[in-house]
Amino acid sequence: MRRILHCDMDCFYAAVEVRDDPRLRGRPVAVAWRGPRSVVTTASYEARRYGVRSAMPLRTALARCPHLVVIEPRMDAYREASRIVMEVFRTYTDLVEPLSLDEAFLDVTEPRFGPRSATLVARNVKREVFERTGGLTVSAGASSTKFVAKLASGMNKPDGLTVVRPEEVEALIARLPVGDFFGVGPKTARRMNELGIFTGADLRRAGEADLVTEFGEASGRHFWRIARGIDERAVDPSDDRKSVGAEETFDEDVSDFARLGVALRAVSARAAARLARHGLAGRTVTLKVKFFDFELVTRRTSLPLAVADADELFVVAGRLLTPTLLSDRPVRLLGVTVSQLEASDAPNKQPPLFGFVFP
């Protein structure tokens, strides 16, 4: 049985701001870039009381909470705080898998020192993070799987510590809405609801074969297993990059196909610049389009060779961006992501004959 912790900093960006400017204490704070298309990155608990949520358009947030204090992000400060937090995690185990600046899984089955108790490790982590960051709090969840540990960390925020024992997992999962399951997005959740599957208990009643028929081999099997609390994903400390990309949210929705093409070229160029910075190229190119109504579609293609060049990325992404895909819907965001990465100067590469391979 593994012991896994999921540690999630409470309102991380906002908490750093409040720490660094005590005048903000007790006031509703949102961290967001300024701009007509801005969305809230993080909201303090005071702001959340007014219904302000992260990823909410700033305009909506201000409508709900007119005296909201809006602060532009200071990424350097967050990165520095994050470095300290991850350092604390790593004093207890090598097996730390950061999910972002403010969130990580820790496998503490065999901690570097001290008792083999996830609860005790979590308590120490929380105290040490608080002391070393000058007052930031972290919520921790402990269980035997990543899936349940992550659920647990969200149960008693802020500054919480929730332990879900193996014998409690079944009951917890049974009443969980399907949308909260790992791997179930809003679309899948809607589909499951249409099929009469609303909770983990419903999901567990579904046959594996039916789930596979409905959602495909990989997803169907995954849903069947996760409904039984089976989640064998290990905590993966390798910080291997899985994808590199760039995206742009337009100040105003764009419907004109030619203008989208121009924007796609710019986004491809930025993605290519990032690939170049990391010395990487990739065999899979994913186009991401978010429409005016926030519907998100992605289209991807795998290539016989890894691409890194801006023009090549643009050609490949451009063929995914079709009028049919858009169906005249105004576009809010365009993104290009490259995955299945390899070093761009890898040995034994087949160099092109013409300097380009997409004529």
């Binding site: 290539l303 040995p347 034994n348 087949q350 391979v357 004529p359």
Partner: protein, 360 residues
């Protein structure tokens, strides 16, 4: 309508059409073929929207008629029949197919709804059938199968001064073949998949060719095809053919193919099947190394050029593909360890392959 036809000729015709007509389509009519029966024979036609094909099958026909039948089922039925003679009879919405003791009744489709196909009328000019087929076949491998590679999925046909040339490339290697051609031809890009079908229908003698708006017509004794051409500009390939040859070797193409095949057994599949070519003192040493061990093979070669020795790595598959159309002795011409290398037949024949060595 009643028609008598030999199973062999009907099967042959159906076989050509079966390759083109899709077995599934959002428009089910496209999975059918149209049969026009006239005194003297049956004309079978079908399309995959890239190629319209009509094939004439000699037959004894009593009255003219036209009908539409599911292409693959009809072909399957005819293939499965015993005996040598097939009897077809159309009555109402049913086509009876009979041979020996077998009797099939096949539902016919909506003739009026079947799309209008277009076929070349008269040939503007012609190619030597064997030359055209051989040339297309020998460069076909170099064309890309990737949807994203646009004109690289096609074979370019050029002509000038009684010569024609076919060129194909997937962006990593290139193959071309020159052949004699009379008459007035156009430069065009033929989709490689359509080229495969052209190769299948042309046999002997002259093949008639006509040029339309974005299409090329192919006319043989039995078959007429209208092939959609590709838009776009084929890259200027002549600039990637090296002009400065610094080392040349000559050896039996078969011996080289066999040796590359041998060492490639241990080549690293994740490293583009790298096979090392080391040339010096009249010897070509091939070497490959992978997770399971290493292999080496040495061949005697005729060698000349300003460079006394050279070492290059190639994708074994690319080398084998390039050597494919070469019979007898092969000439390999090198300009440097990172420059494209050329492969051709010693006795000429107009074929040339260009392959870029792998990065060190």
């Amino acid at each position: 309508m009643r028609a008598n036809v030999t199973k062999k000729t009907l099967s042959e015709g159906l076989g050509l059409l079966e390759r083109i007509v899709p077995s599934r389509s959002s428009n089910p009519l496209l999975t059918s073929l149209k049969v026009e029966a006239q005194r003297g024979g049956l004309t079978l036609s079908g399309t995959n929207l890239e190629i319209d094909m009509a094939c004439f099958v000699p037959a004894e026909v009593d009255t003219d008629a036209a009908f539409v039948v599911p292409a693959h089922l009809f072909a399957q039925i005819v293939r499965s029949l015993g005996g040598e003679l097939v009897e077809l009879a159309l009555s109402g919405n049913e086509l009876a197919v009979q041979a020996g003791g077998s009797n099939f009744k096949l539902q016919t489709g909506e003739l009026e709804a079947y799309p209008e196909l277009t076929f070349p009328g008269r040939a503007d000019t012609s190619f030597d059938a064997k030359e055209l087929a051989r040339s297309l076949s020998s460069v076909r491998y170099a064309a890309s199968t990737e949807a994203f590679q646009a004109v690289f999925r096609g074979i370019k046909i050029e002509s000038r001064d009684n010569r024609a040339r076919v060129v194909a490339s997937d962006g990593f290697r290139l193959a071309l073949r020159d052949f004699g051609a009379h008459g007035d031809h156009r430069n065009l890009i033929l989709p490689a998949r359509s080229a495969d079908e052209v190769v299948r229908v042309v046999r002997d003698g002259e093949v008639g060719v006509s040029y339309g708006e974005g299409t090329m017509g192919i006319i043989t004794d039995r078959v007429k095809m209208n092939v959609k051409l590709m838009d776009g500009e084929f890259p200027d390939y002549e600039r990637v053919i090296p002009s400065d040859v610094r080392l040349r070797i000559m050896l039996s193409a078969t011996a080289l193919k066999e040796a590359v095949n041998r060492v490639a057994v241990l080549a690293d599949k994740n490293a583009n099947n790298r096979v090392e070519f080391l040339i010096s003192e009249g010897r070509l040493q091939l070497a490959a190394e992978g997770d399971y061990g290493r292999a080496q093979d040495t061949l005697s070669v005729m060698q000349d050029g300003s460079e006394p020795a050279m070492s290059l790595g190639f994708n074994a598959k690319y080398v084998l593909d390039a050597l494919g159309p070469i019979e007898g002795d092969a000439e390999l011409l090198f300009s440097g360890p990172t420059s494209p290398a050329m492969f051709k037949a010693h006795e000429g024949g107009g074929y040339l392959a260009v392959v870029v060595p792998l990065r060190v």
